[in-house]
Symmetry: D2
Subunit: 351 residues, 4 copies
């Protein structure tokens, strides 16, 4: 990490970038309010930090050996994120450092009518962002893969509905992107690009999505450690895109015998990620539990643990949903959850 | 499960018990305010439920095939626990169905002075029950095994201090019991018998402890599923002791790479256990995280998830503690946690 | 699954395919020596099997509800794979139903000279297929990503060396493909397309690779169950490509404390996969253990468990390797392993 | 670890022991053919090794910080186990450093007739040691707990049958011991004391069993790391009992979806344990797979991995067994397994 002096010139910055690139690495340049920080992307052992420290405009040059340095709190500290925690701004929605942001909507987009109705109802319940799946990354090729699976045309129609519902009810929209070839299409319609848990390990998708320069929502794979989530996030940051929202959605349950939840929600991930990085982190109580009756409790717990937001699946008639019906809440339940979370949010802070 | 009619006589009850015993099973008799329920202990397939249903005083006789029937909500429903949730009473402390009960104290008892000082300070911070380890079930035979390891005399002295500190500051006391031969000794001094996570699978210890007819605090093993925790609790209930407090204290972390917490706290266990059983459940944020800086967040999250209490390690000088210093909070931090939890407790209820 | 009569005409087959497609599914047509089997791809509940059974040329029409039906042993049974186990043929190499096939070579291609020398030495040691990584799917963006990461030109040069080494020493070659955009390029140079463990969940990569109609080597993700491996393999089979080689390479170690191996090799996966599917399965003792001193034992154990082959990393000077040096064996060690495996292979069969 | 000079006197040894005990630790004295080694039990940081090194008769005095030092290969090296691998001798059976020892018999002892018949048949099949469960440590209190659960009398009768069957067919016998109060009773009847996986963490049982000074067979808990298995073995060694046989029997399966085996057999544990300790290690393919059809393959694989023996459940009529029928092999299958393992044993050695 190379910290430039406040009076460093653009020429000074470019000289450092040039030196880094000559050693076969890339350079991530973060221009903060007060300072510019340059993060080398690649194996830092190939850089001569002693030499870099002597270049004009350089204040400090240090090797950082963690696999996630561009998203680390230390990196943020220098360019002036307040309290070293980033707020990701999506239209009028500010995610991070404030009241929990609620992302809600159906698991899968099924029709224009379904989406418009759910959009209206979750908005009324207090949601801030509308979600809806167009491409579903299912484990089985024989399961419904979302309307997007029917080809570009079907995908575009569903994305169009999502955009319309968002515009109609004044909410930014988010959908999951699957397959590098679909990235540009999705980016044309949505405000947040969502990479699902099963695709967390897909470095090439991460890079392609990052390059759209839109906020990215990255979910932790259900077999991944927190360190892996952070290491793979760094693939996004290394493309110069720091508008990353991390999402805890549960890990594979352990032990013999019946599992009462689909996954084990690891809520300590929330304060841990806040401690390690400057990125906001949200929680998905729907996929983690797979049970409508647990979503109220786990939403409250997530906010009490410090989550910057929640992603909740909602449907006016859960029994009708094509995918994941048992984990959807109704708009009324969603409203109850949102109100409890607002009350809890303030109280769970240290005095 | 055999549900007796409200007008069933003692003779009726004994006739059912006799039939069960003749089939090689034992009978657990729970006398509620309105009704008596008899739970067979053993393989119910060996019972003739059709025949039992015809006996005088019997209202219903049904086979229950789960491995935890004596602690199930269904079982409680008949003998009148309010809302099918049990309150375990320890002196003036009521654990379950109310404000979260805070159990606090040092990981290990080190001296009389240490314990008296911590007792005083955690009481002032708002704790309800005093904890202190006398027998430590360590993974390594080469680690400090607690003062109790020095033999009966050392154990008794440490237990005596614990009792004194509890009496002095008006708190019931709890300590972990290790080894069947120590059970009676421990029972003479403490109010709650604690079975540690590593010993959850020790059926014979469970039975020996249960027979003391004192409240039992059973921790989930770090490799156990919730179903296993419930199945092993049933060994306690089958001895006729239903004053069982379950404790979630984290499971082994998953995935490659560095682990930021010692264990993964599975907070969904709280509503799941409330759903499956009538037993109260508490959370141990100290062992699960192993990190003092995460205990505030995870305590708040546990209470928001519905925990009936918390077990928190506290020490006036964490750096001095012989065992687990990095996870102890100071009395001041404990007070802050207790106050936040009180505020949160009410708000995390459904309206 | 629709089993056609031996005298079914092409017209009969096309009629069934047409009916399936009209219901919104795709049809996989497998023409065996004696029989043709048609496997619907998609949600079979949307098909009228009663009706399909009445069409001309149809012998049987049954719903199969597992997520992996096109690769199941039952499916193979009808079109005549001997013993319902497939042999994948790559040039002169026959993988499955015979002596274990040894795939060996360096973890990463580093230079033409390195690759030619290793090619020569592993051939002499008895290897059948040459491996060499051009695109490395690393957890950290800051780690060496393989020569392919430098862009199409670097990738093509490294692939060209691999091809040359294979041709020079008369071995088919295999490399890992990462990123949908690289699939066609890789397919031009190699004989087996390898999808790495981290990318097992990348459905779109699976589909893109399958469409090249070359044998695909799919590794189990280190957090995946066997059922997930099979479900994701089905994405390949559903493209009409049944030349699939599965690879067990270890799952994440469990439990507290130091891990003596990088992963836990799950050798029961070998007979389980042979039982569930007709696909051959190989084992990678190098990545699973991460330890050169365990590779001999685990190779022997894999072959004794029935593995159809092994994938072993080898280098003339492990200490020099850019990636994974500690797990590479020398050509001499490789030879010792291959000879032991040949001896064991015959003896581990049931008499 | 304190290594005494070959000419050290008994007085020299006792002086070292005395110094260790004065520091509050215990001393394990191992007298080898050539040398005596003294291993302190407890926190070695409390010993003054510099001072110990100056005592008469002391050759070397070094701190060893692993949690398993008394069972480590380094410890064995000095007192002359050949190749630092121990052979545990039980009557005429030598376990370790030779042909794999086969322990076979029913899961549970059900009757005298059953046991005598199985004893005869497994002996004829080639087994060396007879097993039979008297106390079954079941997860559910409602499951059959073995004949031993009926009380001391029932236990003693079943143990007596086991002893008779062993004597009749000239095999040492092994049974699982559960509950500290049963230890002495069991020790009177059996040749090997077996501690089951669920009780691996029960330090007090380990100590009580170790003190019987009979060979101990300790199974790895299904949630335990290898390091934990070794750390808990050390509790046995610390009682001066080094006749320890470790047993790999599978860990909890990972990942979503159906599990094809009851546990995941971790065969790399075999060479790892051989590398870390001087103890022999056997494998239990019955409990790990839970499937009769996989036992042949996994037995072959275990022996190829270097296992010193196998523990296999066998019954003349698996369908009749009260416990674990689906995983039992018939005597004929056992014979086939034993013969394959004998053939494999020699071939899986390095040349």
């Amino acid at each position: 990490m190379i910290i430039m002096r406040t009076d460093a010139t653009e020429e000074d910055i470019q000289r450092v970038v040039g030196e880094i690139e000559r050693s076969g690495l890339r350079a991530d340049v973060s221009r903060g309010e007060f300072m510019t920080v340059i993060g080398p992307v690649g194996d830092e052992r190939r850089l001569a930090f002693d030499h870099l420290a002597t270049l004009p405009g350089v204040k400090e040059a240090n090797m950082v050996e963690t696999p996630y340095k561009l998203i680390s709190r230390e990196y943020a500290r220098f360019f002036g994120e307040p309290g070293a925690h980033k707020t990701v701004t999506i239209g009028d929605v500010h995610l991070g450092n404030g009241e929990p942001v609620i992302i809600a909507g159906p698991c899968a987009v099924e029709s224009r009518a379904q989406l418009m109705r759910i959009g209206e109802e979750v908005k009324r319940a207090g949601a801030h962002v509308l979600r809806g799946g167009v491409f579903k990354p299912r484990s089985s090729v024989h399961s419904f893969q979302g309307l997007g699976a029917a080809g570009t045309e079907g995908a575009e129609e569903a994305l169009h509905w999502l955009r319309q519902a968002g515009d109609e009810y004044d909410m930014p929209v988010v959908t999951e992107v699957r397959g590098e070839s679909m990235v540009e299409l999705v980016a044309r319609y949505v405000d947040i690009m969502h990479i699902g848990a099963r695709n967390m390990y897909d470095q090439d998708l991460l890079v392609a999505v990052a390059r759209q320069q839109k906020p990215v929502l990255l979910k932790r794979h259900f077999g991944a450690s927190i360190e892996e989530l952070l290491s793979f996030s760094e693939y996004i940051a290394a493309e110069g895109n720091k508008d990353i929202i991390l999402c805890e959605r549960g890990i594979v349950p352990m032990g013999k015998g019946r599992s009462f939840t689909r996954y084990t929600l690891d809520l300590a991930a929330v304060p841990v990620i806040h401690n390690e990085t400057y990125l906001p982190v949200i929680v998905d109580p729907s996929h983690s539990t797979g049970r409508r009756d647990l979503i109220f409790s786990m939403s409250c717990a997530a906010v009490a643990a410090g989550a910057d937001g929640l992603m909740i699946e909602a449907h006016y008639d859960p029994s009708e949903a094509l995918v994941d019906g048992p984990q959807m809440v109704t708009p009324d339940e969603l409203e109850e959850i949102i109100q409890a979370c607002r009350r809890l949010h303030v109280l769970a802070k240290r005095t």
